[in-house]
């Protein structure tokens, strides 16, 4: 398994390590529930070095991304982050990724860990096909990433950076310094809380981790693993690539229709238009259990005894104290308040569709 630059720190903290897409990652340090609650109440620090970073440079960097990605990036300002989707020719989602506009001819794409190579290959083949004047480089190995999430993130990070963090709006970033080390500070994340994603050179990320651990210790910050990251993102209604979304899923079937700009041409548009014309038959919907049990990935979903789909993500929600999940089901069954049922081992347990997100922080 591949290790991030922080692996030894996780081992020293007695983290439980799991294989996540070929990476040895901490799933928890003490307890998923403790780490989850620390994120909602105070702050938590996550090792996200396994995610991918691809740089796109050149006079036609924007043209390439406009063609490769579904979202309209024409209005994106330097210093702004945009979530977008990369599709295959069938209109299926290869990745949901964030686009950082570093400069007029310089972008950074932040990819999921397991989609880094498929993304790179897809974008490279589109570049070659259209002969854009742009270059791609995968800088994942030399780039470290930490997520600092939770209401006290700003107070913690502010002690280590000269820039005023209050000036960074949600989904914006600045090139800055953390503990004297050059870093990109982005106000964004995957937990539903205020917080930051921090990028720095891989060999320096350990020093930033150490300083943040010190700075956060008195403010109730904890290191948190992928277990809490998963329950936090699910409560906030965010999807996990490879689990809720696969290459067979199109943006219209999941809450990603807003990422698609129909006024421009983009790779996968022909197939996606056909889906739009025909109407989607399946949809991803949020549900909560009204009966006993916890729905898990792959469990069958029924309505009035008829099979309508399956659970893509399911867990016990530490904030709401109930079992919640996402299910990929027949579109006509996917509207809120509809009664469904989940097959849990030998039993069938009632559930109902609810609007997303399950949890929204008070601003």
């Amino acid at each position: 398994m591949k290790k991030t630059p922080l692996y030894d720190r996780h081992a020293a903290l007695n983290a439980k390590i799991i294989d996540f897409g070929g990476w040895a990652m901490p799933v928890q340090y003490t307890s998923v529930i403790e780490e989850h609650r620390a994120t909602r109440a105070n702050a938590a620090l996550f090792d996200i070095c396994h995610m991918g970073e691809i740089e796109v440079k050149g006079p036609q960097a924007l043209d390439l991304l406009q063609f490769a990605l579904t979202r309209d990036l024409a209005g994106q300002k330097t210093g702004q982050v945009k979530l977008s989707a990369l599709l295959n020719d069938r209109g299926g989602i290869i990745d949901d990724l964030t686009v950082y506009k570093m400069d007029r001819e310089f972008y950074m794409l932040v990819t999921n860990a397991t989609t880094r190579e498929p993304d790179f290959q897809r974008i490279r083949s589109l570049l070659e096909e259209k002969k854009f004047d742009a270059s791609l480089s995968d800088v994942s190995n030399s780039t470290g990433k930490l997520d600092l999430q939770g209401p006290r993130s700003e107070a913690i990070l502010q002690t280590l950076t000269p820039d005023d963090l209050k000036t960074i709006r949600f989904y914006w970033f600045i090139p800055s310094q953390v503990a004297g080390i050059p870093a990109i500070i982005s106000r964004s994340g995957y937990t539903g809380e205020d917080g930051f994603e921090i990028y720095a050179a891989a060999e320096k990320i350990g020093a930033i981790w150490d300083r943040l651990m010190d700075a956060g210790a008195g403010l109730g910050m904890k290191p948190a693993g992928l277990g809490a990251r998963d329950t936090l993102r699910l409560e906030s209604g965010m999807m996990l690539n490879g689990q809720d979304i696969t290459q067979e899923t199109c943006p219209l079937e999941v809450p990603y229709a807003w990422l698609v700009d129909w006024s421009k041409d983009f790779a996968g548009k022909t197939a996606l238009s056909a889906v739009k014309q025909a109407g989607v038959r399946k949809k991803l919907a949020g549900f909560e259990m009204t009966g006993r049990g916890i729905a898990r990935h792959g469990y069958p979903v029924t309505k009035d005894g008829r099979a309508i789909g399956f659970v893509t993500s399911g867990t016990f929600s530490p904030t709401l104290n109930k079992a919640i999940g996402l299910a990929f089901i027949d579109a006509e069954c996917a509207s809120p308040e509809q009664a469904i049922a989940i097959g849990i081992r030998d039993a069938v347990s009632p559930a109902k569709i609810v609007p997303l997100p399950f949890y929204k922080r008070l601003k």
Binding site: V27, Q28, T30, S31, V32, I33, H36, G227, D230, T231, R292, G293, I294, R296, T315, F316, P318, A323, R345
Partner: protein
Amino acid sequence: MSKPNPTDRWYSKDHEWILDRGDGTASVGITDYAQEMLTDIVFVELPPIGKKVAAGEPLAVVESVKSVSDVYSPVSGEVIGVNTALENTPELVNRDAFGEGWIARLKVADPEELKTLLNATAYDALIREEKH
């Protein structure tokens, strides 16, 4: 650090304990080591009263936030009672795995079967090995 394994009961290699009540019945639960490995137990699926199980067959299900684990019956028998307190407070298994976190009570089919299990000393050794 998990709590010491009480010497009054038997243990399975799958980390269940069984306590002979001396009247042909026995209580079953998971060990403190097992609950520590699982952490954050948020759901326990109890077996129906009257369910007949063979040694090594699934008796109950214990779920943490992340995982779903079967609890195997250490011996053959019939379920004559379950710990209904776990329906609303599954965390009792984390708090007191050897006591209030018990899962089911069995009518033991063959008391001789208990002797095929591990005693506390042998179970201590098994855990030490697993930790390495």
